[in-house]
């Protein structure tokens, strides 16, 4: 008999139908991956198992966990099962722990709430659980507070809480989405090991096909609250039938059609750039600390080239981006666009600035919600000495909007009327409107669902060809950098550790860090 069996589960919240006739099952020792884009209902499926649904949610159908009918049990009995029979790991480790209680206390609570254990006994077992998630006692005593740990370490604490009582089912809701790729690989290894050791069943929720493909025994693909496809992994990738899952797989491996039109002359030249920050003083009279965010970085970006800049969070790539954009002055070195310095004296050089633009990651935070689209995309005109007016302005707006695949009439709308993908198109239109030569793409597709991401990548390739643009593509996502760039730089701790043609870097990495990064990145099985 299955450990978890969901049959015909439907869920409504208010007037909205969230889930429709969802069925899936998990056996002991089995890892089942649930895949879907945002809004597919994958997380709500997980919360239905826990019966931790938002107020006003109504679930129908059947959810059987180890013989318990979760939809019919009273709250008191559900509490007895949660944490004991089923544990859960969440997406955002930074906020998943109570900031004012020690990690030992929080792990021990799982034990104390379910068993008649003494406080010291519970603490001892909390220690064991933390040891099992590879947080050894010498570096991670029970008295640590969450704010003293990194994101990956906090996620380990959450996992320790979930497995402290050796539940028979573990639910992981996007457990690595908020983490860097090397940390992600470690957490996934840990989860696999725990599942194997305890013979647990695991329900793994993710938007990332590759992450799930790496570890699941069975895969369930969801869309709009329905299961569209399920099957064993990796065989399923060879026999997808539903058009949605086929397009999802295609989008995940999508490589836009593009050739390099690189000229030899460098457009952007970065030489020995150093940027240090002064930390706030820790003591009243002590010397303030310093952080070297960028430590002597040099590279060239050729005209017409698409250059990737890869690195994990905190490696200094954002600081470098801001320095290139002329938002921050560097302490040492120089940044030249076509031979002109980005900073002249201590002021940003407007003549240089108008030749480059940027697209940011967050399609929701990138626009002033109070302005209409035309005003939003015309903002860069501020850089021109004689910005176009009247008909010339209208024509520029229409051209920018149509070239990113939107209608010219969209200029009268407010930003909230657009989806995430459309917003990113508007962000690109804003960058295009003053006809720059270089566009910096700062994690520009990282927040998008795979299918939308594939469309935006196609658009970028197309625009690059049509307008002869050069791109600096900053991302933590190796799979994206691989398909959109000609050359790439690998950055670690403020330094560029490796650079070269993208294919060479990926197929034959030289630096140990590059090798580690590439090994950590999850791959889709090679089935076409």
């Amino acid at each position: 008999m299955s450990l978890l069996s969901i049959e015909g589960l439907s869920l409504e919240i208010g007037r909205h139908t969230i889930l429709r006739d969802v069925s899936l099952s998990v056996d002991p020792g089995q890892i089942v991956g649930v895949i879907g884009e945002s809004g597919s209902g994958k997380s709500m499926t997980a919360f239905s198992v826990m019966q931790l649904l938002p107020d006003g949610a109504r679930a129908h159908g059947s959810v059987m966990l180890s013989g318990h009918d979760m939809l019919a049990l009273p709250e008191a009995q559900l509490c007895r099962l949660r944490g004991n029979e089923v544990g859960m790991v969440f997406q955002e480790p930074m906020t998943a722990l109570n900031p004012i209680r020690t990690i030992g206390d929080q792990v021990a609570e799982t034990i104390l709430i379910h068993e008649r254990a003494s406080k010291s006994e519970a603490m001892m077992r909390a220690r064991e659980a933390l040891n099992r998630v590879e947080l050894p006692e010498d570096r991670f005593p029970l008295t640590r507070y969450p704010h003293e740990l990194s994101g990956g370490q906090r996620q380990r604490v959450v996992i320790a809480m979930a497995i402290a009582l050796r539940p028979s089912l573990l639910i992981a809701d996007e457990p690595t989405t908020a983490l860097d790729v090397t940390t992600q690989a470690q957490i996934l290894d840990l989860l696999k090991r725990l599942v194997r050791e305890d013979g647990m069943g695991m329900l793994m929720i993710s938007h990332d096909l590759a992450v799930v493909a790496d570890m699941a025994d069975e895969i369930v693909i969801m869309r709009h609250g329905e299961v569209v496809e399920r099957g064993t992994c990796p065989a399923i990738f060879g026999q997808l039938r539903h058009p949605y899952s086929i397009s999802l797989l295609e989008a995940s491996t999508h490589a836009p059609d593009r050739q390099a039109h690189t000229e030899e002359a460098p457009l952007l030249r970065v030489r020995d750039v150093v940027r240090t920050y002064t930390l706030p003083r820790n003591t009243l009279f002590g010397a303030p600390g310093r952080v070297e965010a960028v430590r002597g970085v040099s590279f060239d970006l050729k005209r017409g080239e698409s250059l990737g800049l890869v690195g994990e969070s905190g490696c200094g790539k954002s600081t470098l981006t801001r320095a290139i954009l002329g938002l921050e002055e560097v302490q040492d070195g120089e940044i030249l666009l076509d031979g002109e310095p980005v900073f002249t004296g201590h002021a940003p050089n407007r003549a240089v600035r108008r030749r480059m633009q940027v697209v940011f990651q967050d399609p929701y935070g990138s626009f002033n919600p109070r302005h209409r689209v035309d005003r939003l995309i015309c903002e860069p005109f501020h850089l021109l000495d004689a910005p176009p007016r009247g008909e010339a302005r209208d024509a520029a707006i229409a051209e920018a909007l149509t070239s990113v695949g939107l209608a010219a009439s969209d200029r009268y709308k407010f930003i909230h009327e657009f989806s995430g993908g459309q917003r990113q198109r508007i962000a690109i239109a804003r960058a295009l409107i003053i006809k720059p030569e270089l566009i910096l793409l700062d994690e520009a597709v990282s927040a998008l669902d795979v299918q939308v991401r594939a469309q935006i990548l196609d658009l970028l390739a197309d625009l690059g060809r049509r307008f002869g643009l050069s791109y600096l593509f900053i991302s933590h996502d190796l799979s994206v950098v691989r398909v959109i760039t000609d050359r790439c730089l690998v950055m670690k701790a403020g330094e560029i550790v490796e650079q070269g043609p993208t294919e060479r870097v990926f197929s034959d990495p030289q630096h140990p860090y590059t090798r580690q990064l590439i090994a950590a990145a999850p791959d889709l099985p090679e089935i076409a």
């Binding site: 826990m50 931790l52 709250e75 008191a76 509490c79 007895r80 099962l81 949660r82 944490g83 004991n84 544990g87 859960m88 969440f90 955002e92 906020t95 998943a96 722990l97 109570n98 900031p99 004012i100 209680r101 609570e109 799982t110 709430i113 379910h114 507070y145 704010h147 959450v158 809480m161 979930a162 820790n282 003591t283 009243l284």
Partner: protein, 315 residues
Amino acid sequence: MLRYTLTRLLSLAISLAVASVVIFLAIEILPGDPAAFMLGVNAQEDTLAALRDQLGLNGTLWERYVSWVGGMLTGDFGTSYTYRTPVAGMIADRLWISLPLAIYALLLSTLIAFPAGIWAASRRGSAADVGVMGTTQLGVAIPNFWFAMLLVVVFAINLQWFSAGGFPGWDEGFWLSIKSLTLPAIALALPQASILARVMRSALLDTLSEDFVRTARAKGLSRRQALWRHALRNALIPVLTIIGLQFSFLLAGGIIIENVFYLPGLGRLIFQAISARDMIVVESVVMLLVFAVILVNFLVEIAYALVDPRLRHRA
């Protein structure tokens, strides 16, 4: 924690120093010569000069400031211009009414607000929640001196449970004094309790929607357990801030309530002093009140650090 406390102490000292300068200058720029005011219009020039000398009004601004602050540090607040008695003694007498009144009101307010706020938050949307929110909405809107007058009508004039005003003095018995402070304390506490209950409720609702509360629920804690063990302590920080602000408000807000109940507290003293241009008394009372506010802020910040370990490591 030690470094945190020391930093806070330092900022307490700086605030006090700045506040004392501001108060001193504010009083200095006031029109009118206290000596002339005390002696009346017919005073002789030499008597005036003698009195100015006696009152310490003749030095430079800086000398007078130093002697004022120096005096306060050694417990000498100077001599009242009108009563010719030490200010320290006058203030001490009045403080023994105003301070107990503020503490009494704060206790009442907290004792009402905490259960009400927690109750409303834990039953969000229920009749209990709607009832608490409606009552507090009224409580926030009611002017406290008017509420005090209503209390007098009901409990002093009609029911005759309490006297309508006055204060017997602590020598006449503890409970008798407490009894005479009860109506003023209730009048002060009700609007404050309403604000505090609303803050408590909204802070709790905020923390209850935090991820870590969901984590706690996933461990098997019931709603109630998650609220008491995880949400409550986290919700205390905004609540502590409000309690700190309220204490100073209660101490000063007593001024009007003291008027309603004819209580001889600091409020009455400051009114008398202002109308008599007895600026040394005004100066000292204001400084004392500011000192109380800054001290309470300091204690609140120490309390933050006790609640939140993240602060202990910060300087």
